[in-house]
Subunit: 309 residues, 2 copies
């Protein structure tokens, strides 16, 4: 989203006694009448932007539409409960497309024990649009915020980064199981999921927490897709560039105290690698530390949703 | 939605222990971990189908997108709590359009004390799409289902029907206040809000309740818009035809025991008229009773979302 509009939302979306966490984090946290906290997030995916009907298997598109929302719940440390699904279908072939989308969507819902609670199915002359809202639960005051990072904390990531455009973005594995383990067994100060780019999403944690981050560039886990993309494109962008900026990895960035980072990296408690990639600092902005130990400014890069005025 | 697809959903959307009410009612009812019941609904509105950008004031479009969801919560007897808003914006003018949409949306949210908990704002080369998910609360086992109508019950409606296409559909007044009063003070067996057409939506209550309905056609409250539309179109459709079939009235149909109907109609406890229009019967289908007392089959008519296979 354009920064102007982000600022407009920040100035114009009112706070509300029911909102423990409002717009601007991975998901909202809503206080219910009895004190229970509900976590809610919504993502809209569009043909030609997030996938291509005709080129991509519709079951994978259906999976992605749910998975990106479950990834947002995971980034809050929340347990997914239910999802609602709205569709704008093209007028021709819409019925078959719906069944194929739901094939992927229902399989993923079953895998993560998510109830499909309904939705709204429409047709129109335009391309396919899917909007999913996912709802989850979290213990009061236990949701992972972007704003909880503290100077000295270590930055951990799940999995590997870069090159998801080669196809991995459609098969996104939301880190639900990993988040639930960490929510129960670890001390997490802040978290985000990487949808727009590792460096851009990490910069959002820093902004929300009013701090900075120093990355050990040599420790960033690089996906084989990033290597392949750098080779194929041969445009000067390195695999590391792709890892830092490509986005749609749907891995978690977790900010934890140093001793917790040491324990978790040694333990490797998740099915997916957990890697320390840097440290939270007092100095605002992103910084890279090279093999020579020198720190240099690192421009956050990634996918910014452009809205022209 | 095409009936084939409705049947496919009924056969393929699995039940889930968390779903007290799943797809197929006005909203879903989800059981949370502590037993609290959450009511959730989503509606997607599209340029050229539900409104026309350029022709209609964007603030009214934003209002409508939230109001139709609040109407669904009202039809469950639920108290609205929060909403999430997703947008696909056209690439040119999207920022201004967003601010105008939110002007209407935020005013309506404030009016009904709904927290805007966030959303997803995107741009693309296509027309405007707005998807809103509304969340509400209801006491356990107190949500109004479509399936609770019993033979002998009376059918009440709020407000007047027909001709909303003249502009009223954009200024929909969700019957939130009315529903909350009735949820506390009345015995409601079943309910639905009229989005697709009074006769079509009433037929859905009958199907869900495995019963029929006999309508006193002379008692249907007809909107001045229906009179005007019949005059202007002069195509043989009467104001009553419009009232029965036009849809987007966003009034409530309430099925209540006979004594409760008498009490409520005499009391007129709502700011909007409450009118008895007929009786639930054992005989399936819709029937009309004319001034001569004779019963005739009445075909349910209204807006069916067509999806071609």
């Amino acid at each position: 989203m354009e920064n102007d509009l982000l600022r407009w939302f920040a100035a114009n979306l009112p706070s509300h006694e029911r909102l423990v966490v409002g717009a601007g984090d991975d998901a909202a946290v809503i206080r219910l009448a009895d004190g229970q906290q509900l976590v809610a997030t919504t993502d809209m995916l569009m043909d030609g932007v997030d996938f291509r009907v005709g080129e991509h298997d519709a079951a994978r598109i259906g999976h992605k539409a749910l998975a990106v929302n479950l990834s947002d719940l995971a980034a809050m440390g929340a347990r997914p409960v239910a999802a609602l699904v709205s569709l704008c279908l093209p007028q021709v072939g819409g019925e078959l497309l719906t069944k194929q989308l739901y094939q992927g969507l229902l399989a993923t819902a079953a895998k993560y024990d998510v109830a499909i609670a309904g939705g709204d199915t429409n047709s129109w002359p335009g391309p396919l649009v899917i909007s999913v809202t996912a709802l989850g639960e979290v213990a009061p005051q236990r949701a992972w915020r972007r704003s909880g990072a503290q100077a000295g904390d270590r930055i951990l990531v799940t999995g590997r980064f870069g090159g998801s455009i080669l196809g991995r973005h459609l098969d996104a594995v939301p880190r639900v199981t990993e988040a639930l383990w960490l929510a129960e067994h670890a001390d997490v100060h802040a978290a985000i999921d990487v949808s727009d780019g590792l460096s851009l999403d990490l910069s959002r944690v820093c902004e929300a927490s009013r701090c900075g981050a120093v990355l050990d560039l040599g420790s960033i886990p690089i996906s084989p897709d990033a290597e392949q993309l750098a080779r194929e494109r041969n445009d000067g962008a390195t695999p590391l560039d792709h890892a830092l900026a490509d986005g749609e990895d749907f891995e978690l960035v977790l900010v934890v105290p140093p001793s917790e980072a040491e324990r978790l990296v040694a333990l490797q408690p998740l099915g997916v690698p957990l890697t320390a990639i840097g440290t939270i600092s007092d100095q605002p902005g992103l910084w890279s530390r090279g093999s020579d130990g020198k720190e240099q400014p690192l421009a956050p890069r990634g996918w910014e949703h452009r809205i022209e005025s």
